[in-house]
């Protein structure tokens, strides 16, 4: 899995591309872990626009980062989900504890 990475206004934006399954979830997890969540860390946005598929293994990574950052000064959000990916999120009840922004701009604004 290829993961794009850029920084905007102090926010790290990861843009994974392809399939997020039990084969590839670890790659995203490692990339997420490389972004600090402490005072000297960064807010984190995962932009899902190029993720065409997610399984429960991908959901596990998302749940872990939400939990890790629950009490941290740097927050976490997701954006740009394709319909099928969003549906999997919703069925799994993940939309109850994570805000899914329609685009990266709105997500970035939410961190302000």
């Amino acid at each position: 899995m290829k993961i794009g990475k850029r920084e905007e206004k102090g926010i790290v934006i990861l843009q994974p591309a392809g399939r997020l399954d039990s084969n590839t979830a670890l790659v995203l997890e490692q990339e997420i872990n490389s972004v600090g969540a402490g005072n000297d860390g960064h807010h984190l946005l995962v932009d899902f626009s190029n993720v065409e598929y997610i399984s429960s293994a991908g959901l596990r990574v998302v749940l872990k980062v939400v939990k890790d950052r629950q009490t941290s000064p740097k927050s976490f959000a997701v954006s740009n989900m394709q319909d099928h990916v969003r549906e999997v999120f919703e069925i799994s009840g993940f939309d109850a504890f994570i805000t899914i922004y329609p685009d990266a701009m709105q997500a970035v604004a939410s961190f302000a």
Binding site: Y53, S56, G93
Partner: protein, 130 residues
């Protein structure tokens, strides 16, 4: 399929091909892919106590309205219909994703039956294709 997670790519390629041949809606292809991914991954991760190579047989049939899927493995007995759905309302800090795969399977197929025959698990799924 062999009992390796690296087979997931081949699994999704095969499902894509079948979807094209049978002219299935993209949405159905993604759902079938997810269902097979979850069941296959479960079996690979929890089905076997040895380090030997095992084969997981997956076959699909389609009559123009209904997709019939059969999955056969020689792993530990696991009756999917006895598995409980996770409680989605528990507080975040106690949450884990155990059981979410099964929940997704139940969501995206219409019927699930299970049989244990000799040393094999046989899961049969029916999905109406709209």
């Amino acid at each position: 399929m062999r009992n390796h997670l690296s087979e997931l790519d081949r699994l999704s390629e095969q499902i894509e091909l079948i979807g094209q041949q049978w002219k299935l809606p993209e949405r159905s292809v993604l759902q079938i892919n997810l269902v097979l991914d979850e069941l296959f991954t479960n079996t690979v991760n929890y089905g076997f106590d040895d380090d030997l190579e095992h084969t997981i047989d997956i076959s699909l049939g389609y009559d123009g309205q209904r997709m019939q899927i059969t999955i056969i493995d020689d792993g530990n007995p696991f009756d999917i219909n006895q598995a409980e759905d996770p409680d989605l309302n528990i507080p975040l800090d106690q949450k884990d994703v155990g059981g979410l795969g099964i929940l997704l399977v139940r969501q995206f197929v219409d019927e699930i039956s299970y049989a244990r025959d000799k040393n094999k698990n046989i899961i049969m799924l029916t999905k109406h294709i709209l």
